[in-house]
């Protein structure tokens, strides 16, 4: 079974799992009284945001190891993780405002998670642009690793500056969305959704990795270490 097939299966399982989350969240999880049904956006928004950040951290770590080991597989993984991270960031940046409108009355709020995801999105765009602008695979891998490592080191500073900024304008947090201090059934749904997104991340990255592997082999640019 080729890598692409494995990736497709994992993605399929992830999508089925996500369907399960949809059913469970929409039909079997109690509505939160203060925020109303809109609160259920939380089950998609937060896992996607966690994986947006996790994907960038993995890009950075892959970059660190690439600089020392010079193994093209690490570079391929970093490229895959960055692309998948961008997709998840898009989800966060669309569901965020949709959730913000009914709760805080405005489409965009400088909420901590939304703001840091926006900065991560710019980081991803920069990363993918650098990968697109460099022809030579080894040079591209090295430049991407340098940018990935800087991105990894930037994540804590994004949180710190957003945290300091937020203590300046505290939003009326009705339900603290970040910490899952939720009653049992809601927490279970949230964890279920996190599992679904994890599967999707792994499935997508595997497929994207297989894709760049095929593309490199076809152009004969990457020696096949796999």
């Amino acid at each position: 079974m080729s890598l692409a097939h494995k990736g497709r299966w994992i993605t399929l399982v992830g999508l089925v799992c996500l369907a399960g989350v949809y059913v469970r969240a929409l039909a079997f999880t109690p509505v939160e009284r203060l925020q109303g049904p809109a609160q259920k956006i939380f089950y998609l928004h937060v896992p996607a945001a966690l994986w947006t950040e996790a994907a960038m951290i993995l890009v950075g770590l892959a970059g660190i190891f690439y600089l020392f080991l010079k193994d093209p597989r690490l570079d391929r993984f970093a490229a895959a993780s960055a692309e998948v991270g961008t997709v998840f960031a898009t989800i966060v940046l669309t569901t965020g405002p949709i959730w913000g409108k009914p709760i805080w009355g405005t489409w965009w709020t400088w909420d901590a998670r939304l703001t840091s995801t926006l900065f991560l999105f710019f980081l991803y765009v920069g990363y993918l642009l650098v990968r697109g602008a460099v022809r030579d695979p080894r040079l591209r891998a090295r430049y991407a690793a340098v940018l990935g490592i800087c991105g990894l080191c930037l994540v804590p500073f994004i949180h710190l500056s957003v945290f300091l900024f937020r203590t300046l304008h505290p939003q009326p947090i009705i339900v603290k969305p970040s910490a899952p201090s939720l009653p049992g059934s809601m927490l279970a749904t949230w964890l279920f959704s996190l599992a679904a997104f994890t599967l999707l991340y792994v499935g997508f990255v595997t497929q994207r990795y297989a894709l760049s592997l095929a593309r490199d082999a076809q152009q004969g640019e990457h020696a096949d270490h796999a």
Partner: protein, 36 residues
């Protein structure tokens, strides 16, 4: 008992948007890796 805010529409919108984004990406990956 304060009545629960009726904002289910936003929830549905968010769930649809998420599904659309994920499906589009899944399909694009599927097609791109399918080509020999």
């Amino acid at each position: 008992m304060p009545d629960v805010p009726q904002n289910a529409g936003y929830m549905v919108a968010a769930y649809i948007v998420t599904a659309v984004i994920l499906l589009i990406y899944a399909i694009s990956l599927h097609r791109r890796t399918a080509k020999p």
